[in-house]
């Protein structure tokens, strides 16, 4: 029995079928909770899709367990796990690393936490916010500042966006990254003010250069002392500022609130979060985005609630959303390791991820990683396939996450299971035949699985989420 059902089996292997395909969805119902119906059942393929998009992926055993629960229960369970803080020893290890190592090692530690941590949802959302408030250790240099920012993103990322934005406005790593600690009332630095509006809240076209100059005055007097934010009242501009149609002698927090409450903020954030969780190509001006943004605003920009609505929605489980994203390098590697329970040298993994375009804590610019099709080129595609093959080979046949997969021990069931588990889009029939020949032979199951997954990694479908 085919345990997976790919609604558009073999029909779409890339996300290039165009953004107009979203036009047929009704904004009024697209974000309503999905529930199984005739011909659209809750099966292992949908469970795998949910885990891939909410977190990074999960074991075969967990997949089977979740298939026996309702979709709402699984989504709720994932989000509940995301609210736990995790073992205290994880934080003490991070403190040790921050005390004595370069930030690159902290990136290795974060990757390890993504792989082994109890909440993949929380780490993935933190990765999203890290890409949003992109800050690079290449300039910040101080590991403990990067750790503090990571903790802020992780702690506040699921709550109201306003609190997160206010925390970021006084985050020491951000102050170093955007030169805000050098901002004096006599010479305000405009970098943070510009990016707060352009990249963090509103998007291009929603503000003027005059707004930037006025807003920058609100952030004067920000300093860092002993690795912590310090407000220097002598260097703060207390006079009235006028920006985005508001006027007042705003301080830092009040200014952030003015920007966050702007109508464009909800729409800007919803579009980015939907791109990260649903589809790379959903247009920003789509009525689908507008509808969800209205709801998000009504919920005081509470990201946890928005995430739950997205993950449980009809559009999330729709055929249009399956394979509609290209996995980022971190999603690809961490997903594979979580799926199979792999162990690896995380420093080496970090170097390999850097080579294919995404090393956490080292985004390429203040705009973060562009994502989507920019992840893929001739060089990175080879690098991604090689990375998968190396991780699988290094497992030496120890694949605890795959326990129970292909129990019948025949090539067809092994391929069928692996494709449904690991791929969002089913490859064409001819490719499936080739995969069966690769997964056959006299070798033991683990060796065949290693060969099979290495072969899968060379398929375009493998890189879609």
């Amino acid at each position: 029995m085919n345990r997976f059902r790919h609604s558009r089996a073999g029909r779409r292997s890339t996300v290039s079928s165009g953004p107009d395909r979203w036009d047929g969805l009704d904004p009024a119902t697209a974000w309503e909770p999905w529930s199984p119906a005739d011909g659209d059942v809750w099966d292992l393929a949908k469970v795998a899709h949910l885990h891939r998009r909410a977190g990074f992926g999960t074991t075969w055993k967990q997949l089977a367990a979740d298939a026996a629960r309702t979709p709402a229960e699984v989504v709720r369970g994932l989000l509940d796990a995301a609210t736990t803080t995790g073992p205290a020893e994880d934080d003490s290890v991070a403190d040790v690393i921050a005390a004595g190592s370069e930030a690159r090692r902290l990136a290795s530690w974060w990757l390890l936490r993504m792989v082994r941590g109890s909440s993949a949802v929380r780490e993935r959302l933190t990765l999203f916010w890290h890409g949003h408030f992109a800050t690079s250790a290449a300039k910040v240099e101080q590991t403990r500042l990067m750790l503090a920012q990571y903790r802020t993103l992780r702690e506040l990322g699921q709550g109201e966006f306003g609190a997160l934005a206010r925390a970021i406005s006084c985050d020491p790593a951000m102050l170093v990254w955007l030169d805000c600690r050098e901002s004096r009332k006599a010479k305000p630095n405009e970098n943070f003010a510009r990016e707060l509006m352009e990249l963090f809240c509103l998007g291009l076209g929603q503000y003027t250069e005059q707004d930037i100059r006025q807003l920058a005055r609100c952030f004067t007097g920000s300093e860092i002392r002993y690795g912590q934010f310090r407000f220097n009242s002598f260097q703060h501009d207390r006079n009235e500022k006028r920006f985005l149609g508001a006027a007042g002698s705003y301080d830092r927090e009040q200014a952030v609130d003015v920007v966050v409450k702007h109508p464009a903020t909800a729409r800007f954030l919803v579009h980015k979060l939907v791109r990260f969780h649903v589809a790379d190509d959903l247009p920003a001006d789509s009525p689908l985005i507008a509808r969800l943004a209205d709801w998000y605003r009504g919920e005081k920009l509470h990201t946890g609630k928005l995430l739950e609505r997205i993950l449980a929605s009809r559009i999330f489980f729709s055929a249009e959303a399956r394979g509609a994203r290209i996995s980022g390098p971190v999603e690809l590697a961490v997903g594979l390791m979580r799926n199979f329970g792999l162990e690896a040298n995380m420093d080496e993994l970090a170097s390999e991820l850097a080579a294919i375009g995404q090393l956490p804590l080292y985004p390429p610019s203040v705009a973060g990683w562009e994502g989507g099709t920019t992840w893929i080129n001739a060089q990175t595609l080879t690098g991604r396939a090689n990375l998968v093959a190396r991780l699988m080979q290094a497992s030496a046949g120890r694949l605890p996450g795959a326990a129970g997969l292909g129990e019948k021990d025949d090539a067809a069931s092994l391929v069928e299971g692996a494709v449904g588990w690991l791929l969002a889009v089913r490859p064409p029939a001819a490719v499936m035949k080739q995969l069966e020949s690769i997964a056959g032979g006299t070798r033991n199951r683990s060796e065949r699985l290693v060969r099979l997954v290495s072969a899968l990694a060379t398929l375009p479908e493998f890189h879609l989420a």
Binding site: P87, E89, D90, S92, V93, D95, V96, I97, A98, A99, G100, R105, S108, W109, L112, V115, R116, Q142, R144, P172, I224, R225, Y226, G227, Q228, M337, L342, E343, A344, N345, M346, D347
Partner: protein, 612 residues
């Protein structure tokens, strides 16, 4: 494969071996006993091998070595560790034990008896003059057992080949009083109770001839005086020798014999060793083991009077300079003492390093000279120090309630000034200037600055830097208990990472002279050029204090979760506690340079089975 399947396969193999042992290797196995009047077993194994061999390694008494290891207190303690006990309960270990028991049953003796009987006369290995061929001689005390073992081994090879659908990979030949099994590129021969094997058949035949007593006038490798000298110096567990002239001619390990290393730090530590290796015609190695220590010693030829001028900084003008006494401290972890003329080292840079390294040193020279008011760094600053350097590393005690994430030890450099009155002040000003730069860097990073306090004393000065106490500093601020200090007292100069260690060292007496006693043969004194001493028990305590850092490292490098990493580090720390101390000595004199390393085991009595 499960244990059960393995066991069944083993039983099947046993049947096959028993059946084939008579037919396959039987002609070899039933060869005659050693012919009369052929050889004396007392002959040195070195004499068997041709004089043009490239390298030679001998374990003269493998049975003694095995007994020493089996009853060694450190190994017995290791076996008592919970983690090791747990590993011994693993399926892999049990499978290994089962395989071993199977082999013992086949041969009718325990593995220790097998070593004693099969190799009790010694094992010697040599590399041929081509640098590729290898030959081995194993001298047994039990000819029937050797015969039976070879029969079993070759039957197993036959069975494996048959199971794979192939033919026997060797052919059996008889050669006078010896039986040979000839493989592709490998020959195995038994003559009486001796076993000879090698990659080159001609060499194997020649070794068999030597065992018969042919060419007894040739001394072979035994003619090498350095090997003879080593043999006369008590029996090591393992000894080795290499013909460096021949190794150089063969073009092997070229980098090792270049005589240079383009790293100033490595040159400072190992320059003298490179000097010896560059020209020495030979290299010897000795391993000795007893309940207290494991010692590994290397020797190479080096005449003190022939040391090159660029390495005079390392061995002294007459090639016989002696390291100062070791410095001690209350919680000493490591102490290093070496005779080095730092000024000579710096000024010889053009002869010692490549152009790029020299360019970097010249740049550093200019920058450091600025700190010393334009004095020439090599000639005037380093030249102000007496040759000889002492380094001490000390475990730090932290005040109650202070728990840094990483517990670093304190360390200090101790030297002697030639003109303390003038240069003491120069060093003081340079130290103050350096701390100024440090403070600027700390400010840029938003970290607290150092408050530098200078006190003049009757015989010098003390400059102490302590973190400036700030009321608004967070309680968990990381400062590692650093308090960089410069102290000049008389002609003594101490540069220390903490004020406490500097204070200790201002009057610290020497730990004892380290010159080697008068030489046994020539009467000339060999001297210790460099001595390094580590307190491994103290290091184990330091590692224990940094357990979380080790766990973090393990997690990242192995991809483990916290629990798995914690378990691995616990084993590492338990094993670290088996050792007491470690010492390295570089000694020169009587025409040779010796590098002697010794590791001491924790002395805790473990009763041997015989009650001794």
């Amino acid at each position: 494969m499960t244990c059960r399947r393995w066991f069944l396969a083993g039983l099947m193999g046993l049947g096959l071996w028993t059946a084939t042992v008579v037919s396959g290797w039987a002609p070899v196995a039933s060869a005659q006993s050693a012919p009369p009047g052929s050889e004396s077993r007392e002959d040195s194994a070195a004499a068997l091998f041709p004089a043009d061999s490239v390298a030679f390694v001998e374990i003269a008494r493998p049975d003694v070595l095995v007994q020493t290891l089996v009853h060694h207190p450190a190994i017995r303690r290791a076996l008592e560790l919970k983690s090791v006990q747990a590993a011994m309960g693993s399926p892999q270990y049990l499978q290994f034990r089962l395989g071993l028991a199977f082999a013992e049953g086949q041969l009718g003796a325990t593995w220790q008896d097998l070593v004693q009987k099969l190799a009790g006369g010694g094992i010697a290995v040599a590399v041929g003059s081509d640098g590729r061929s290898v030959a081995v001689v194993v001298r047994s005390n039990d000819e029937p057992l050797l015969r039976r073992t070879l029969g079993t081994l070759l039957s197993f090879v036959d069975t494996q080949a048959k199971n794979a659908g192939g033919e026997s990979p060797y052919r059996v030949e008889e050669e006078s009083d010896a039986k040979l099994a000839i493989f592709e590129g490998f020959t195995l021969a038994r003559r009486g109770s001796d076993l000879v094997a090698g990659t080159d058949r001609a060499t194997v035949m020649r070794l068999l001839g030597r065992l018969r007593g042919e060419g007894s006038e040739e001394k072979g490798l035994a003619a090498r005086p350095e090997l003879a000298a080593d043999a006369s110096d008590g029996q090591p567990a393992i000894r080795g020798w290499a013909d460096l002239d021949r190794v150089r001619r063969l073009g092997l390990a070229r980098e090792l014999f270049r005589g240079m290393v383009d790293n100033p730090g490595t040159e400072l530590v190992l320059g003298g060793v490179l000097e010896a290796l560059q020209d020495s015609p030979w290299l010897t190695a000795r391993v000795t083991l007893d309940d207290e220590n494991l010692q590994l010693a290397f020797g190479a030829a080096m005449e003190a009077k022939n040391v090159s001028s660029s390495r005079a900084y390392f061995f002294g003008p007459d090639g016989m300079a002696t390291a100062p006494d070791l410095v001690d401290a209350s919680n000493m972890l490591a102490s290093v003492s070496a005779w080095r003329d730092l000024s000579g080292w710096w000024l010889s840079k053009e002869d010692l390093f490549d152009e790029n390294t020299v360019a970097q040193l010249v740049q550093a020279d200019a920058q450091i000279s600025t700190l010393f008011s334009g004095l020439d760094f090599g000639g005037e600053v380093l030249g102000a120090l007496q040759p000889g350097m002492q380094i001490v590393v000390d475990r730090q005690e932290y005040p109650e309630g202070v728990q840094p994430n990483i517990r670093l030890p304190a360390f200090a450099l101790v030297g002697q000034l030639k003109e303390p009155a003038e240069m003491g002040r120069r060093f003081k000003v340079a130290f103050q200037s350096s701390m100024g730069f440090v403070n600027l860097g700390l400010t840029e990073q938003g970290l607290p600055q150092y408050d530098v306090n200078t006190q003049s004393t009757e015989t010098g000065c003390v400059c102490t830097s302590r973190v400036f106490p700030e009321a608004d500093a967070p309680p968990d601020l990381i400062v590692y208990n650093f308090s960089p200090t410069l102290m000049v007292k008389g002609d003594r100069l101490v540069l220390s990472s903490t004020a406490e260690l500097a204070e200790q060292l201002q009057n610290e007496p020497a730990a004892g002279g380290d010159a080697v006693p008068a030489d046994r043969e020539t009467g000339s004194a060999a001297v210790a050029n460099t001595v390094v001493r580590l307190d491994l028990a103290g290091l184990a305590t330091l590692l224990d204090g940094n357990r979380e850092a080790l766990i973090a490292n393990n997690m990242i490098e192995q991809g483990h979760d916290h629990a798995a990493a914690q378990a691995e580090i616990a084993v590492l720390l338990e094993l670290a506690r088996l050792f007491r101390d470690f010492e390295v000595r570089l000694e020169n004199g009587h025409g040779r340079l010796d590098l002697v390393t010794r590791i001491g085991f924790q002395n805790r009595a473990v009763e041997k089975p015989d009650g001794k």
